[in-house]
């Protein structure tokens, strides 16, 4: 038996120390952790979804608190919660169906009505149905959903049908859904990369910023399809991940040019498209990206150049940003921009008077408002910033949006 608590603590401490960085790695680790939480947690005979939700939520809260800036953690926790709710819902529906089958359709109106009520109750207690669920559901149950009123009196009746088998089935389904999610996270960049040829034409010049695995795969996929195009890579101080990306792209045979971040404005007039990877996508269609991205977006807007964000769906965050430059940002070490050795005399220049003369600002992230983003390319297709809220409604349950506050209150 694996010690779940130990695993949770390990990831929490990793997150807190920023040993895990990058939304993809974080998302994968979180999902794997939650999977083991689900598989290890003891489920009571009744009300399994609710128990499981509580367990996941508890772990998720810890993880989110460990690194509130890493929105991918929260996203994955919400995704898993959503999975549990959906499975619980369909489980309950199955129970209804099974009961109906067992009753044999003996036009016992009252019984049927009861169970329809039950299914509706199960739904409404777990989640509001997503658009997806609504469309998939059979028409009759959809109509009943709107007409019936909820009564939770007969829950035991349904669960008592064959509780053990159903509980195992439920857990299995949830875990397989979480496995699908992990698989999605691992392969989303490949799925996105398949769209590359549709967006890059021959002889195009593309500007990118910093390092992103998704961008790399996207560009390389286009290259493999025999497109020939040039790439400008802005280095992305203070991490200089652009150097890494440039090296990898050059190794794959792409014509790559490294420029400094300050030359972005100078060069963007010769660029056909800006393609960047981001840290997180907010519900309003704004993005959180590496610091400096806002400048690139402004420059692209000034020259009317498409600003394209490639992102996996695990970066979709159901939160709306409020003052994101400050609230969703963190400060990195000043030593990345200014060497302590050289400026030690300035740092303590006024220590005697207590007034610090020198501050160094080194934020990690930048917020790009939705109006500067032209297009999102995700593993489920291309979308406008204005459509993000709808995607979010498909992937998250609205009850989960605020995880922390709900528990705190």
């Amino acid at each position: 038996m694996v010690d779940v608590q130990g695993l949770v603590d390990e990831l929490v401490s990793k997150l807190r120390r920023r040993k895990v960085e990058g939304s993809r790695a974080t998302a994968r680790l979180t999902a794997e952790l939650l999977r083991s939480v689900i598989s290890q947690s003891k489920l009571p005979a009744t009300n399994q979804p609710a128990t499981l939700i509580d367990a996941v939520r508890g772990v998720g809260e810890k993880l989110i608190a460990a690194n509130p800036i890493e929105l991918a953690v929260g996203n994955i926790v919400r995704r898993v919660l959503h999975i549990i709710r959906e499975e619980g819902h369909s489980n309950a529906r199955d129970a209804v169906e099974g009961f109906r089958l067992s009753v044999g359709g003996d036009n016992d109106y009252i019984v049927e009505q009861d169970h329809l009520n039950l299914s509706v109750a199960a739904q409404s207690s777990l989640c509001r149905p997503s658009l997806h669920a609504l469309l998939e559901r059979s028409p009759d149950s959809a109509t009943t959903y709107f007409t019936a009123n909820s009564e939770d009196d007969s829950e035991e009746k349904s669960k008592s049908l064959d509780p053990n088998a159903r509980s195992l089935e439920f857990r299995r389904k949830v875990i397989s859904a979480v496995n699908d999610l992990i698989e999605d996270i691992n392969t989303c960049h490949l799925v996105i990369a398949e769209l590359a040829v549709e967006h890059i034409h021959h002889n195009e010049v593309i500007l990118t910023f910093g390092h992103s695995r998704t961008v790399k795969e996207f560009l390389c996929a286009a290259k493999e399809k025999k497109r020939s195009f040039g790439v400008f890579v802005a280095e992305g101080a203070p991490k200089y991940q652009g150097h890494l990306l440039a090296k990898e792209l050059a190794a794959r045979g792409l014509q790559t040019t490294v420029i400094t971040d300050s030359a972005v404005f100078a060069m963007i007039s010769r660029v056909n498209m800006v393609i960047v990877g981001v840290h997180a996508v907010m519900a309003n269609g704004g993005v959180i990206g590496p610091v400096g991205l806002n400048m690139v977006a402004f420059a692209a807007q000034k020259h009317a150049i498409p600003f394209v964000v490639v992102t996996g769906t695990h970066k979709l965050c159901p939160l709306y940003p409020n003052n994101p430059e400050v609230s969703l940002n963190e400060m990195r070490s000043p030593s990345e921009v200014l060497s302590f050795e050289e400026f030690s005399d300035c740092m303590d220049y006024r220590i005697g008077t207590g007034a610090s003369q020198l501050h160094v600002v080194n934020p990690a992230f930048d917020y790009v408002p939705p109006e500067l983003v032209s297009l999102f390319i995700t593993d489920i297709g291309g979308y406008c910033p204005s459509y993000m809220y709808r995607l979010i409604a498909d992937y998250y349950s609205s009850d989960d949006v605020v995880i922390q506050q709900k528990h705190a209150s």
Binding site: A237, A246, A263, M295, E342, V361
Partner: protein, 658 residues
């Protein structure tokens, strides 16, 4: 308005007519300038001196303004140290050179003269028929050497090397200019006795001059400008039969503009005589030609960005040792100029004002040591000399626009020298002109800018600046001295990180500073109330041409509705227009991109710099569109970017009439 009108009406016909109509009869190529022009120039000069504060007032204050001044002593001492190893080494070196190179030695030894200089000599030399040139070989050898030696008194090394080193370089350049057939002739004798050849060249030149003077005199007042222009272009044709037509055009204009001497109308100069004809480096044949002339042996950078083929880019770090070793084989470049050139290469002098002042002071020195060779006119010969210096400096590092303006000013002054002046008087005249330019256009202008800009700083302001601009630094320091409470945000970017120097100086003075990378500019811009930017130049469409990154900062400030004030002296304004940062720019050392100082963990690009697919682009400047500029603070006051052409026009008029 009235006085200006009057003067224009006087001058205009003269200026406009030259080249198309008959000029006033008393004007001739080499003769004294007509009384009107001398009168006007002297009057203007007098007016100028009276209106401007006396120089004596200025210079002490100028010294106190440290940021603009360059500290030369260190380098002079450096160079003083250097002599020890080299003098003994140089003679053998020379010998080996000539031995190994064989018949081409002349080409190789002679490295310096500039594009314009050469072109001029070409234009001139064509006049002399090959036969006369050939016949003149044996004759004038020795006095020409003497001339040469006398013209380079400043070099400490006259003793040993003048005879050997100097002449070949000089002569060869001339030979080269003269064109195919003459060059062949020269080459034969040259192998055995470069000395003789050189002298013959010089002599031939002198002869030419004389001929031309005679011709001009004979023609009297007839169309001096047109003639010379026509002659130049006509001459250009035969010589350039081998060269591509585009080049022909260019050199023709250069030659004609060079020729203007003292008697060409200044307005024409202004149009034709671009300080350095901007070379397009994607034109292979021209590059080859320029390379043969170059003092600075540059190796082309291997891995160049396709978009910037038209700009020069060389391997950095390779030229300096080579040049240092050549310090004592003086080409026609004056040692002071040479030193400044080396400082440009090594980056010891950077920043528009510092570079410009260093150059002007070097020219001042050079003029002080200058003496007119026999049978030459000071105006023409000195202009040629200055041209060769300028092209040398240009090889060291592409000239900034402000330097171009300063050079134009200087050439203008040389051209306008009254021919009645004796040589020493003329030299003193020029030196004081240069002094005045430095004091008035740079140092005093900075003070005026500071005075204006300080009024825009309110208590509690947060001022953002980018990189390190001397004008902005003075403004901040002055405002601090006035006791205004404000904070400074210094935004900086790789690879130069000049902001760190500014940061250190400001913190040392007790200002409270925030330092940020350029990527953080949109984070920090929320709290900023004013943006002060320096500029390398302001172009007449309002575009601000400045250190790369300025455009980004101005753009973000514009988006955040923060006013952007550009501080720039009026001498940096230029009538050129530019829309992007690509057509004309400067490329820095690409290797500076791959290495991040102080961050050893960033080594992804180590060893990849030779990859065919990977290029590193180190742009030096960029162009900020005028939309982003709220106001330009200059010595004429605070103006919107739309008013730049007015200032350009006014200051050009100034230059013409000073």
């Amino acid at each position: 308005m009235d006085p200006r009108r009057a003067s224009r009406t006087v001058s205009d016909p003269k200026i406009r007519q030259v080249g198309f109509f008959a000029p006033p009869p008393d004007r001739s190529l080499s003769g004294p300038p007509d009384p009107i022009s001398t009168a006007t120039t002297t009057a203007a000069a007098a007016a100028n001196t009276s209106s401007s504060p006396p120089i004596s007032d200025l210079s002490p204050s100028g010294n106190s303004l440290s940021p603009v001044m360059i500290p030369p002593p260190r380098h002079s001492s450096d160079t003083a140290h250097r002599p020890a190893p080299f003098p003994p080494a140089s003679p053998p070196r020379r010998g080996t050179l000539s031995l190994t190179v064989g018949s081409y030695n002349n080409n190789i030894i002679s490295s310096s003269p500039t594009a314009s200089f050469c072109d001029e000599s070409k234009g001139i030399s064509v006049k002399v028929s090959p036969t006369s040139a050939a016949s003149s070989f044996p004759g004038g050898g020795f006095d020409a050497t003497a001339v040469k030696a006398s013209s380079v008194p400043a070099s400490g090394l006259t003793t040993v090397s003048v005879v050997k080193t100097l002449p070949p370089g000089f002569t060869e350049t001339i030979v080269e200019k003269v064109g195919g057939s003459v060059e062949m002739q020269n080459d034969l004798p040259a192998n055995s006795k470069p000395l003789k050849e050189r002298t013959s060249k010089a002599e031939r030149r002198a002869l030419q001059e004389a001929q031309r003077a005679a011709k001009a005199a004979a023609k009297g007042s007839k169309l001096p400008a047109t003639t010379s222009g026509a002659v130049a272009s006509a001459n250009a044709k035969p010589t350039k039969a081998t060269k591509p037509p585009s080049q022909k055009n260019d050199s023709a204009t250069v030659t004609s503009s060079e020729k203007k001497g003292g008697d060409r109308p200044p307005e024409k100069d202004r149009k034709k005589d671009a300080p350095h004809p901007r070379m397009q480096y994607d034109d292979k044949s021209r590059v080859e030609k320029a390379k043969r002339r170059a003092v600075v042996k540059q190796t082309e950078a291997r891995n160049r960005v396709e978009l910037f083929r038209h700009l020069p880019q060389y391997e950095h770090g390779t030229q300096l040792p080579d040049l240092e070793s050549k310090f004592f084989q003086l080409d026609p470049v004056h040692p002071v100029v040479y030193k400044v050139g080396l400082q440009y290469i090594s980056g010891d002098i950077s920043g528009g004002n510092a570079r410009c002042i260093a150059m002007l002071q070097a020219f001042q020195e050079a003029i002080k040591d200058y003496s007119t060779p026999d049978e030459k006119t000071l105006t023409r010969d000195l202009t040629a000399k200055i041209n060769s210096y300028v092209s040398f400096l240009n090889e060291c590092r592409p000239l900034s626009i402000s330097m171009g303006n300063a050079i134009r000013f200087l050439k203008n002054r040389i051209a306008k020298l009254p021919l009645t002046l004796s040589e020493s008087e003329a030299k003193a005249f020029l030196q004081s002109d240069i002094e005045q330019f430095i004091n008035e256009k740079i140092i005093l202008a900075d003070k005026v800018i500071v005075k204006h800009a300080v009024t825009k700083i309110r208590d509690g302001d947060v001022l953002l600046t980018y990189g390190s601009s001397s004008a902005v630094e003075m403004i901040l320091l002055h405002a601090h001295e006035l006791g205004k409470p404000f904070r400074v945000v210094i935004v900086d970017s790789r690879p130069k990180l000049e902001g760190q120097l500014l940061l250190r100086r400001l913190v040392g003075k007790g200002l409270s500073c925030v330092y940020a990378n350029i990527n953080a500019v949109s984070y920090i811009m929320h709290e900023v109330t004013r943006v002060f930017l320096g500029a390398s130049s302001v172009l007449s469409n309002g575009t601000v041409y400045s250190r790369v990154g300025t455009a980004c900062v101005a753009m973000v400030a514009h988006e955040f509705r923060v006013p952007v004030l550009v501080c720039c002296e009026a001498y940096k304004f230029h009538e050129r227009v530019q829309l992007d940062s690509i057509c004309s720019n400067e490329l820095g050392d690409p290797d500076a991109i791959s290495k991040v100082p102080g961050r050893e963990d960033i080594n992804y690009l180590d060893g990849c710099t030779n990859s065919e697919n990977l290029q590193l682009l180190n742009l030096i400047n960029d162009a900020t569109p005028s939309d982003y500029v709220s106001m330009i603070v200059t010595d004429y006051g605070m103006v919107p970017p739309t008013s730049v052409p007015v200032i350009v026009r006014e200051s050009c008029r100034d230059q013409v009439w000073i």
